[in-house]
Each structure stands twice: as C-alpha cells, then as structure tokens.
C-alpha cells in the first residue's frame, strides 16, 4: 500500500506540475482578461499547495517521522504568510513570479527534507529571515531613489568582500568559496553579484562612451580575476557573462558581445592548457565512468541518479540521492530528477525559464535606463546560474559548482536570490505606480473608443511615421 501511494503520488505530482508549467506560459494568452489571469494564478497556487502536501505525505509515510508533520505545517504557514503579504501590500507585484518563487521554495523544502531533515530545517530558518528581508525591498526601492549614486561603493564593497575570500577563505572542492564569521559560513560572491550588477548599471545608465566603458571593464575584470584566483571558476564565468550582456545592451553593439565571447573561449582554451585541474575536470566531463574512482565520481553518481530515475523517477524516498557528494547544494537537480522524475525536472527548468522571462519583461517595460539595466543584469545572473548548474550536473557542460537558485541548500544562495526576486518585484510595483495616472487616463480614453476602432487606430499609428511621433510626444506629456 505504501508503495502504491508513493508511486501514484509520483505520477500525480508530475501531471500537476506539467499543468502548472503549462499555465506559466499559457497565461499570456489572456493578456487583456485580468480576471481570467487571476483564476489561472490561483489555480497555480492550488497546484503548488497540493504538490507540497502530497510530497510531505509521502515523506511522512515513508519515514514515519512525526516531526515531518509539524515541519510541513510551519512551511504552510510561511507560504500562506508570503502570499498574504503580497496580496495585501504589494497588489501590483507580479503574481506569476510570486507563484514561481513559492513553487521553487516548496520543491526545495520537499527534496531537502527527503535528503536530510536537519538541513531542511536549517534552510527553512534562513528562508524565514530571507523572506522578511526580501519583503522589505520593494518599500526600500520606492523610498530611496539614490541607488544609482553609490557606484563606487558597490565596486569597493564587492571587491573587498571577494578579496577577503581569496585571502582568508575556506577551501572546499579545490575552490575558495566562503568565509566564516561568528561561526556562520558566508559565501560573499552570492551577494557581490547583486552589487556588481548595480555597479555596472550605475556606470552605464548615464553614458556609454569609451572612457566609461573602459573604467567599467577594468573594475569588472578585477572582480572576475579575483574569482579566478580563488578558483571559483563558475562564479567567474557568471560575472563575466553578466558583464558582457550588460555592455552589449547598454552600447547596443553586438560586436562587443561577440568579441567578449571569443575572448572567453580563448581564455578557456588557455586555462585548459595551463592548469592541470581544469584539464582533469574536462576529462572527467568527457568520460566520467573511466575516472569514477576520483574526479569522475561525483558526475557519475549524478548521472546514475538521473538515468536510473528515468522519466517518471523512483518516487520520493525510493532512491539513493545521498550517494551523490554535495547533493543538497550543487547537485540538487539530480536528486529531483532521480526521485520526482525527468519530466518533473524538465518542468522545473521551464519554471526557471518563466522566471527569467519575467525578469526580462520588466527590464523592457521600465523606462528608467538604470533600472532597465539592473533588471537585465539580475535576469542574466539568474538565468546563467540556472544554466551552469543544470548543465553541469547533466554533463551538458563541465561542472562548475554553482547552486540552483532558490532550490539548493545554502543560506547565502537563498538569501541573495530572495533579495534578487525582491528587487524585481519592487520594479514591477514601481512600474505600475509610475504608470498609474497616465495609464488610467489612457484607459479611460480607450474605454470610450470601441474595440474595432482601437485596432484601426493602432494600424494607422504603425502606418504613418508622423502620427507615431506625435503619439509619442503625447504619451510623454501625459507621463509628466
């Protein structure tokens, strides 16, 4: 019977998560029907709560650990709390992003509880702290308008924090990642990446002349080189790609982007030739089974887990995720794929893609170039980190040892990602408030005109350049 419940839940969770993921993209079809959208969003939340419940039911039945029930209820309270705060105070925040965040947190707590109850509990406590902090961010963003003026503070704090790790950091798996302060291990690069994005954005929003680009590049290079020196190659790559993307968008020159990528490839080849630990990693990536005793062990275990789990997974508590070293951090995706199934894992990737779309969406909608670049930079950081970690554990690219945002175990990663989501939600709120007055006027005007007439009007605008320019001026006037 236990087996049957476990197996049936497995299929049910996959099915529901597929529906959830489908809705993430399907909801855009109802752009002009807010009621319909709200219905979809609340259905998504229903699915999220059900998957969360079902998973914990299975975990409880398999472990017979009564603490799991209490833990589940605490999580439920947190999720409902987050949802309530948003619905009461941040009505204009993105519902989809909120749902995705809750879904990823729920999946994280499910799989962490299954891997290690203690770790899950620790993560949950950090989650509460992170939630409180990230809920404050939209208010701070609204009240403080001077974020664009701290340019050099961002750079200084960032470089200082990374340097401290380089000098005094603890070595884990060959790289220096963290420092211990008062017994708490902190991974500064997780936080510095937000400062770093703010730094580049504040440099480039005003001017993109040669001098400005050069200064930005030098400071960015300092960040990247410190990370390389700490052997934190995953973060170094992440920082570099973020820099490239932001430079490209700010200058609108594809040549910079292409040139940067070419330089990056050259650096990769040089790294391969120069450093033996890089070569070993690449070899372990090419054929992990041949090096299973040492370098290939981790990735082999990960692939055993993903492969044996197959499309439908082994079922919660039915696999051996703890066979994979650091499964709770870098290899969480493998554990999810092993027990919840390959289809579930694919849906998880698509939910991350949906988050990325929402980041870039607000970047496009904002008018203020500074916040446009901030949203773009944070979106890049998020998406590329997801790509690096999932690509690494599935052997698509060599493993670089970065975490899966919101899902992996680790306080720094969780807190920084929650801050990141908080900033994006703050931008959504800011955007809607800026637009409130003109938009309501616009809406009134539009409401007066009948629908077919509106379409015609649009075509006209597109058709003649003059009217288009005129319309633009009008809009500008209104926004004043």
């Amino acid at each position: 019977m236990l087996h049957l419940v476990t197996q049936a839940s497995k299929y049910l969770m996959i099915l529901l998560f597929m529906v959830y993921t489908f809705e993430c993209f399907h909801v855009f079809r109802f752009e002009n029907r807010p009621k319909r959208q709200m219905a979809i969003y609340s259905r998504q939340r229903g699915i999220m709560y059900f998957i969360h419940f079902d998973a914990f039911l299975v975990i409880y039945l398999n472990t017979q650990n009564v603490q799991v029930i209490g833990f589940y209820l605490m999580q439920l309270i947190l999720f409902i709390g987050i949802q309530l705060v948003y619905h009461l105070f941040y009505k204009k925040a993105s519902e989809l992003l909120l749902n995705n965040m809750l879904m990823l947190l729920a999946i994280s707590l499910v799989i962490l509880t299954r891997i290690s109850f203690d770790k899950a509990l620790k993560q949950f406590l950090i989650m509460i702290v992170s939630t409180v902090l990230s809920l404050l961010i939209p208010i701070i963003l609204q009240k403080m308008t001077s974020f664009r003026r701290f340019t050099w503070a961002y750079a200084l704090v960032g470089i200082a924090a990374l340097s401290v790790v380089l000098v005094a950091g603890a070595v884990s798996y060959g790289a220096k990642l963290s420092i211990s302060i008062a017994g708490i291990s902190i991974q500064p690069s997780e936080f510095v990446k937000i400062l770093y994005v703010f730094f580049i954005a504040s440099m480039l929003y005003q001017a993109t002349d040669m001098k400005q680009l050069l200064i930005t590049s030098v400071i960015a290079a300092v960040h990247v080189l410190i990370l390389v020196a700490s052997k934190d190659l995953g973060s170094a790559l992440l920082y570099f790609v973020t820099y490239l993307v932001m430079i490209y968008v700010a200058t609108r020159r594809l040549a910079y982007f292409a040139g940067g990528l070419a330089a990056c490839s050259l650096a990769a080849v040089a790294g391969y030739k120069l450093f033996s630990h890089v070569r070993v990693r690449v070899l372990a990536w090419k054929d992990p089974l041949s090096m299973i005793d040492k370098e290939g062990y981790q990735i082999s275990q990960s692939l055993f887990a993903i492969g044996t789990g197959g499309w439908f997974g082994m079922g919660l508590c039915q696999g051996l995720p703890n066979k994979i070293p650091v499964v709770a951090q870098d290899f969480i995706f493998s554990a999810i794929s092993e027990e919840l199934g390959g289809i579930f894992a694919l849906c998880l990737i698509m939910v991350c893609v949906s988050c990325f779309f929402m980041f870039l969406n607000i970047a496009m909608q904002m008018k203020d170039q500074f916040y446009k670049l901030v949203a773009l930079g944070l979106g890049t950081v998020y998406a590329f980190q997801v790509f690096l970690t999932i690509g690494g554990v599935t052997k698509f690219i060599p493993s670089t040892g970065v975490t899966l945002p919101l899902v992996s175990y680790g306080g720094s990663s969780l807190l920084s990602t929650m801050i990141l989501f908080g900033i994006i939600q703050g931008l959504y709120i800011m955007k809607s408030q800026q637009a409130i007055q003109p938009v309501t006027k616009n809406a009134e005007q539009k409401a007066k005109a009948k629908k077919p007439a509106k379409k015609k009007g649009e075509e006209k605008i597109n058709g003649s350049k003059k009217t288009k320019a005129a319309a633009k001026v009008k809009v500008k006037d209104l926004s004043k």
């Binding site: 968008v249 089974l289 055993f304 039915q318 066979k323 990737i349 969406n361 599935t394 649009e458």
Partner: protein
C-alpha cells in the same frame, strides 16, 4: 496587467519602443536557445545515453529494484533456463542455476559482487514490464512484480558439447557466428558451481584458485602457431605479387644471430612455399619470414586487428598485447613471428580474428544477449547484430581463407578433413615460458556448410600437448554438434 509578454508589449506600444528593446529581445532569445539546447540534451541523455550509466556495475541504484521485483530468468537461445529465482512460500528467494558449472562463467552469479550476464544484465533482470494493471494489483496485495527475462545467444547443445569435450583440462572454448557476432558458447575451466558460490566463496575466490576467472575472454595466452595467421597476412601485404615465389628449405631448425628455432619434433619439412609452410606450421620457415618483415607495418597490422586495445564487448575482457621494434634483438623477432615472444592473446580475440577472416574481412561486434522480454514473453528490448568495422580487405580475407582451408584439409589440422562441412583453421602448440615444458594446445578456425550459418571457434587446452592432438578434437566435436 503586470505580466506582459515581450511580444504583446511590442504590439501595444509604439515602434520606437521595440527598437529600444531590441537588445533585450536578443538576450531573451539567446538564453531561450541555451535552455532549449539544455532541455534537448536532457531528453537525449534520457533516451540514448542513460542506458550506459544505468547498466554500469558501479550504479548502486540497481539493487533497490529487488525490493519490489523478483529477479528474472536467464535463458539460452534454444529455450533452456540457465538461471531462475525460486520463491518459497515464506517469500525467501533463492537464485538457482539448473546446469550448475556448465554455464558458470557466461551466466555468472548475483551474490558477492556479481559476474557474467548476471552482472551485465542486472538492471534488465530487476525491471518488470508486467502489464501495469497487474503491477497495481500486485502492489495492493503487497506482492512483488516479476522481473524481465534475458534471452541469450548461447546455445545449450554447443555449450554442453564444448564443456564435455574440454573434459578435465583447464582452458577455454569460445564459439561465435561470424556473420552476426552472436556468441554461441563460452566455456572456461576450472569452473565453479554458481548454486553454492556463496557458501564456497572462500575456496573459490581464495589464493591459488582461478576458478572465477573467465579464461575465454580474460585469459592471456601465448598464441603459439595460431599467430602465424597474422605473420602470413603481413607477408602477403608486403609481397602481394611475389608471395607465391617464396621458398624455404627446412631441415628442422633455423639459426640466426646465435638463436636456433626448432620445428615441432625437429621434423624436417624439406622444400616449402608459403602455403606449405603455413599448412605444416613450419617454425623454421616462419622465423625466416619474420626477419624479412617491416616491423612498423607488422605493428600496424596487429593494431588494426585489435591488439593493444579494449575488445568491443560488454563483457570483462583482457587486452591482447603485441609489440616489436627495431631495437629488439633478432631472436625476439623470430620468436614473435611464430607466436612466442611477448605476444599475449585471449581466446575471444583469436575467435574474433577467425571470424573476421570468415566474414570476408568484416568484424561483427560479439554479443551475448539476443533480447529481453517480460515474463509473459512480450519483447522489451532487442539487440541486433552490429558491424564493428572492416579490418581486412576482402582480397586478404579470401587469401587467408584458402590458406586456412589447406591447413585443415591436408596440414596440421587435417583431422577436420572429410566431414560434412568444410573446415578452415590453424593449430598451435604454445610454450608457456622458456623455463618450463608446459605447453598449451590451440585451435583457431571456422567451418562452413551450405544452408547453415558459419561458426568460428577458438580452443585452448592448458598444459596438454600438441594442438593437433588436444585442441582439434574439441573443435571437431563442436562442429559436429552444430552441423549435425
């Protein structure tokens, strides 16, 4: 309202805003592409690549399945059950092997670390493709599902014949179909009884016992005169137009640089050409030939025939070794030419070479599993013949075919003449080392009969005597059983 898709937004705003956001769209699409590639790879991994990882003996997840599945059966191609799991009334499971020692190395065992097909096919045996409703009913009743059966390419009759023919000698017999690569028999002695291996583990695996070792695939033997197949091929390659003019006057021994090579029993073969040298297995003549060869090309030939590399088989197998360089003394070149020296081969490898010659130069990848099926007989996976590659030109293959036919018709393997089938082969009598008198008897060859598939065979009889006397009769019995 707040959740606007880029596209939608472009529509509702003026065109300038789209241009303004062009770079944002580019970045969005670049990342979208990256993620599509990532997901595509994930699907590709699950569909194609995952099998290699799932079936890896290092994958400890496999054994979890035994909680809910009764291990399936292993069967021979002709329907005999080689391994099965008996479930007692109280639910205890015992793995039993009805033909005990006969299939020991091929089928293997599933305790104390697993070996053979039990190891290689572990995952299939522990998967159940019962009808899903039946599985649900089993779940509700708290009963295990029945695992899939593995149907091998092994032929019971041939295996039993080869096993009996080898008798009390240590050694190995391996038989395969050159046209498909199917392995029909695989015998290795000394052997063990897989039924009692857990109880007898100490004595079977302890010091001084090599019973667990599968000599057919893992054995490393000096090839002796069977290696003259390769020496002859190399001479033919280097002298394509003049090889038929080769002549040698054999007085029973050949001396060069102070080293004397003797013919078997010091027999003087008299005047010989290449063909009679091969058929007589004349050591003196071959020592003479070896000294004329281009060593680089000789190495190339052996490497292209899979020396010094992993054989393409999913079974544990040894790597055969061959090397000669111009710095080696002439004595070593002479010895290597007649299959002594440092050359080592496995019976499987020699069988694959015979198979390549028989199949006109193309090697088929050897395999042991025909298909897997659910316990109700519904096929789950089928393994079909795969071409490994063309190792010899068809001209070289047909040249060698005629030489091996001559050896089996009138030469050292003449015992195989006058049967209902045509035999092709080469015998060997390999000295184990310079310091001992122990010799291993070899036969490597194949047989053809119209209307039936050809079969290739390699036989090693350890510590016996002449190949003609000890190895050829075993091949003869196997051929007879197959072509009867």
């Amino acid at each position: 309202m707040e959740a606007k898709k880029p596209k939608q937004q472009q529509k509702s705003k003026s065109k300038t805003s789209r241009n303004k956001n062009l770079e944002f769209s580019v970045i969005t699409y670049i990342f979208l592409l990256l993620f599509i590639c990532l997901m595509g790879y994930f699907v590709y991994f699950q569909v194609v690549k995952s099998e290699k990882f799932i079936n890896s003996p290092y994958n400890s997840l496999q054994d979890l399945f035994s909680k809910n599945v009764v291990r399936g059966e292993i069967r021979s191609d002709d329907g005999y059950v080689l391994a099965k799991t008996d479930v007692a009334a109280d639910g205890t499971e015992t793995r039993s092997y009805p033909y005990s020692n006969v299939f020991a190395h091929a089928v293997g065992y599933s305790v104390n670390g697993k070996a053979g097909l039990e190891n290689q096919m572990n995952f299939s045996l522990l998967r159940s493709h019962e009808f899903f409703l039946e599985q649900i009913v089993n779940d509700l009743r708290d009963q295990k599902n029945i695992g899939d059966n593995v149907v091998t390419t092994l032929n019971y009759t041939l295996q039993q014949t080869a096993y009996d023919a080898l008798g009390s000698y240590d050694g190995a017999v391996i038989v395969m179909e050159p046209e498909t690569g199917r392995i029909l028999a695989m015998v290795s002695k000394p052997d063990y009884d897989p039924n009692t291996i857990a109880e007898n583990w100490e004595s079977v695996s302890g010091d001084g016992s090599t019973a667990l070792f599968n000599r057919a695939t893992q054995g490393s033997y000096a090839p002796g005169s069977t290696f003259k197949i390769l020496t002859t091929l190399e001479y033919y390659r280097e002298n394509p137009d003049t090889y038929m003019n080769y002549s040698f006057d054999c007085d029973g021994e050949f001396t060069d640089s102070g080293k004397t090579i003797h013919c078997a029993g010091n027999e003087a073969h008299g005047k010989e050409d290449l063909l009679s040298s091969f058929a007589n297995s004349c050591n003196s003549s071959y020592a003479n030939i070896a000294l004329t060869l281009d060593l680089d090309k000789y190495n190339d030939l052996c490497n292209s025939l899979l020396f010094n590399r992993q054989l393409p088989i999913s079974f544990e197998s040894s790597v055969s070794s061959f090397s000669l360089s111009s710095s080696d003394p002439r004595s070593q070149i002479m010895e290597t030419g007649i299959g002594q020296g440092n050359t080592l081969v496995s019976p499987l490898h020699m069988c694959m070479i015979a198979s390549t010659i028989c199949n006109n130069g193309t090697l088929m990848t050897p395999y042991l599993v025909d298909h897997t099926e659910s316990y109700k007989g519904v096929t789950v996976d089928t393994y079909s013949p795969k071409e490994y590659g063309t190792l010899l030109s068809s001209d070289e293959a047909s040249f060698m075919q005629s030489y091996m036919q001559e050896a089996a018709a009138s030469g050292t393997a003449g015992k195989l003449a006058g049967q209902s089938y045509t035999a092709y082969g080469k015998t060997g009598t390999a000295q184990v080392s310079d310091t001992s008198d122990q010799t291993n008897a070899w036969f490597v060859g194949y047989a053809h009969k119209d209307g039936q598939k050809d079969i290739a065979i390699a036989v090693v009889v350890e510590d016996s005597g002449y190949g003609v006397r000890y190895a050829v009769p075993i091949a003869q019995q196997v051929f007879a059983a197959y072509f009867q």
